[in-house]
Structure formats: structure tokens, C-alpha cells
Amino acid sequence: MTPGRMVEQAGEWLRGSGPQSDIVISSRIRLARNLAGYPFVNRGSRRQHHDLLDACRKRIVDKRLAENILWVPIDDALPIDRQLLVERHLISRPFAAGKNNVPRGVAVGGDETFAIMVNEEDHLRIQVLRSGMQLTEAFDQINRIDNVLEESVDYAYSRRFGYLTACPTNVGTGIRVSVMVHLPALRLTGEIEKVKRAAQQMHLAVRGMFGEGSEAQGDLYQVSNQTTLGKTEQELLADFEHTVVPQIVAYEHQARQLLIKQRPHQLDDRIHRAWGTLTHARVLGTDEVLQLLSHVRLGVNLGRLETTDIRTVNELFLLTQPAHLQKITNEAMNPAARRVARAKMIRQRLGAR
């Protein structure tokens, strides 16, 4: 199987189901792990990179972590396939770009709930991605994977610092817990900056849909922990489950109710203008599409727009991205051509002409 086969549908995490999925789009956990006996990736020799890659690939595949594991050698993959995996959140941007062209690869579970990058910044970056608020389930799954891998490799670990990582910001548990939340009402009421500040005070990072350095397109934000040393995995999960996520969700709900109460016409206008544009425009750029989809998604969730459903909208967030668009249309296109093809695909998927 090749990455190209994934393209027609969104991965598990965009199914639009799962607890609190009106606001919490997805739950993601990743673990950073390194093997004892090798230098970290940034100091490894080419031969060491190859040795480690081969050893890890064999073990991941042998351990049968899932049915139908897809192994993609990233350094050999076409740029568009790498981009496709980035858009599906299965690999990171730096991993796709590959500074120094380090030999590297990713194992993807058949249902795309997990991915293991080999030779990223750390030897292993294991991630589990699920739709809606499912951090407990995600943690159980990733912990199982970690335990299985540990049976056949020696992790670099010290009693004082825990799991040793190339960058000391990940040392200790090596865990990053994050939720992707859709916060259109907080953006419309202008309170999003305050939420960001509050999150930062709780030592959380708030980023856009595509992680570090990306803008929050489509009102999608990723909220994640920064502290990995001196806190257990369970404490961190409990923070997210009992404090962080409920507060953000309550805040967004409150902003939505405020809009309905105080500016219902303006709210409906936004939602239906967005719908009108998406179903009639002939030329659409990615940023504009994400903003329009955000308002349509808000309309569907509030029951104020009944011409489409959440799954269709969620899928469009992904399928309108450049690599997906070109894979679906099976055509390499420049940005101008993509804008036309994007508008056409959206009209088709939304049942317009």
C-alpha cells in the first residue's frame, strides 16, 4: 500500500465523532523515545542512522502492532506523498523536509490511529491520534505500543531524568498531550487572546492546526503541555481531562450562547454567507476555505444550518489541502489551478453545481 491510497477519506481523527466532538476535534498523544547505545539523531553517522532505521522497522513490523501496517521510507518518498502525510498529521513538517536528508521512515497503523516516526529529532516518535475527546483511550493505546516496543529495544533512560531525549524540553516522560479544538465563537467575540494567555499561564502551548509556527487557520487550535519532567503521565492527563479541556469547552459554549442571544442575525449571516460562498465560488484559496468551513461547522453544530453534516465539513478541512486536492484530482497543479479545482471539489462535495 502507498500513501496515495489513503486519500479519498479523512483519517480516524476527523470522523467528527467521539465525546465533545462539537468542540474537541481530536486527541493526540506522542512519546519521544531514544535507543541506548546510539548517539541522538543529530549526532549520528549515516551508518548509525541506517542501522537504527532497519532495526526499528523490523521490530515495528514484526511486533504486529496492528493489521496492515504501512511503512513509508520518507527519504525515498515523493514530495507530494510526504506533504500528504503532513496534512494527515501522521508526520511532522521537519520530518517531511528532512534537514541533512537523514534516512528515515514512518510506520502508520492501518486505521491511522497511530504512527511511529523513526529518525525524527528523536529515534522514535510514537503518536496516537483519535477523534473527539479520547485522551484516556489514546493513552492506553500508546502505552501498550510503548510496552511492546520496549520488549525488544533498550530505551535510553536515567533514574534522575527519565526517558532521555535530544532536546531537554522533552526529557522525563517524553510525553506530549494535545487536543485540537475548534473555537470559532471565541474568535468572533474577540476573547481568544485571553484564552491563549490563560493557557500559557498553565504552562500550555497554543498553536495552529499544523503545529509549531503555524497560524490558527479555520479557528482550529492545538493545546498541548510543555512540562515533561517532574510530573507523571497520569497527573498530566488528569489536568487535561478535569481542568484544561472542560474550561475551554465551557468558555466556547458560553461564547456561542452569547452570540445567539445578542447577535443572532449577524451570526446567521456569517454562517449562511460562508455556505453561500462555498457552494457558489469558482476560485478559492486554502486560508479562505478554512475560515468559511469554520463558520459552516459552527452553523451545523448550533443547528442553524441543516444543508450539510459535520463529517462532510470535517473532511473538507483536510481534502482541500494542496496535496490532498492534487491526489484526488490526480493532477499536479500550480496554486492558481488548485484554487479553481478546490472550488469545484467543494461544490461537488456540498451537493451544489
Binding site: 531514544n34 541506548a36 547505545g37 546510539y38 548517539p39 541522538f40 543529530n42 549526532r43 553517522s45 551508518r47 548509525q48 532495526a55 529529532e121 502505552n143 510503548d146 510496552n147 525488544s152 529495544v153 533498550d154 530505551y155 533512560y157 536515567s158 533514574r159 534522575r160 531524568f161 527519565g162 526517558y163 532521555l164 532536546c167 531537554p168 524540553t169 526529557v171 522525563g172 516522560t173 510525553i175 467575540t189 476573547e191 485571553k194 494567555r197 500559557q200 499561564q201 498553565m202 504552562h203 502551548a205 510543555q226 512540562t227 519532567l229 517532574g230 510530573k231 507523571t232 503521565e233 478535569h242 481542568t243 474550561q247 465551557a250 468558555y251 458560553q254 452569547l258 445578542q262 447577535r263
Partner: protein, 170 residues
């Protein structure tokens, strides 16, 4: 759309929602009342990576500082990086760096991890035997690299066998 302060008619600039025993408690206050309530935002927390970069840069700039200078000259005897290299890239070179640079890293980590100084999370099941084995594996692997470099394939093959046996006892 601006909400008013709970206690006066000025626009609310500070908002908080707390969940206490399932009850949602909201507060919306203007700057003055927020300060009174102690709700006013303290210095905004800096994201870790930034903190680390700033911290590293800051210390890189004060080479006259005796401690820092000594720390900067520290060399990891397994991967060869210096503490100054780490300051440049924010990346360590190998697991052993954590031992080599433990002294200068300690306070840095404490600041980056909300005061955390020691790992209290998951422990690998094989952690007990791990440390000695880790050192041994590193040594073997370095000898293997040297052997390949020197084109001593006989030694390389032998070391490779040793490594395989060690890594895969089954």
C-alpha cells in the same frame, strides 16, 4: 458584544471560568476590579522552547562568568559535543550528555519544567539493568564505527555479532 464588568459598568477585560464540584463559576471583571480580586494576569508565562533558547543565549553571552565558562568547555566523552554546542543548537548529542552536563543542565531543566528536577513518571520495565547495559552498548557501537572506519571488517563483524546478541538475547 463587549461584556461589562460584574462589579461596575466598565468593559470586562478579565474573564475566568472555574469548575468547582461540577458547578461553573464565571467571573468577568474590568482591570481595576480584576486587580482587586487578584485575578489580574501575572507576567505571561513564556513557552518552554523560548525560555530555553533565551536562557541558553543569555548564558552564552556571559563568557566572563566563571561557572558558565567552565560549563561551556565541558565535553561529552561519548559523542564529543561541548556544552557550548548545546547552547547553539538546543540539542544534546547522546544519552550520556545528561550525565556529562548534569550540573549546568539541572537548573535549566528546573526552569523549563515548572520546577521539575526529577523524573517521577513511567519507568521502563528493564530500567534496573539498563544503565550498565546502555554504557556497554554505546562502547560497542563506537568500537564498531571505528572498526568500519579502519576497514577492519573482521573486528567489525565480531562486534556486530556481540551487539546482536546483546540487543536480542532471544
Amino acid at each position: 458584544m463587549k461584556r461589562k464588568c460584574d462589579k461596575c459598568s466598565r468593559p470586562a477585560t478579565h474573564h475566568s471560568v472555574e469548575i468547582v464540584k461540577g458547578e461553573k463559576i464565571e467571573k468577568h471583571l474590568c482591570d481595576a476590579h480584576a486587580a482587586e480580586e487578584g485575578l489580574s494576569l501575572q507576567a505571561v508565562h513564556t513557552p518552554i522552547n523560548e525560555l530555553l533558547t533565551n536562557f541558553v543565549k543569555l548564558h552564552a553571552g556571559v563568557e566572563s562568568d566563571d561557572d558558565t565558562k567552565t560549563a561551556g568547555d565541558l565535553v561529552c566523552d561519548q559523542c564529543g559535543i561541548t556544552f557550548s554546542d548545546f547552547r547553539e543548537s538546543s540539542l544534546l548529542g547522546c544519552p550520556h550528555c545528561y550525565t556529562t552536563f548534569e550540573a549546568p543542565l539541572g537548573p535549566l531543566l528546573e526552569r523549563a519544567h515548572e520546577g521539575g528536577t526529577h523524573h517521577i513518571g513511567k519507568v521502563p520495565r528493564r530500567a534496573g539493568v539498563a544503565e550498565q547495559r546502555q554504557a556497554q552498548l554505546s562502547r560497542l557501537r563506537r568500537r564498531l564505527d571505528d572498526a568500519v572506519e579502519a576497514e577492519d571488517y573482521e573486528l567489525a563483524a565480531q562486534l556486530r555479532d556481540e551487539l546482536t546478541t546483546m540487543e536480542d538475547p532471544s
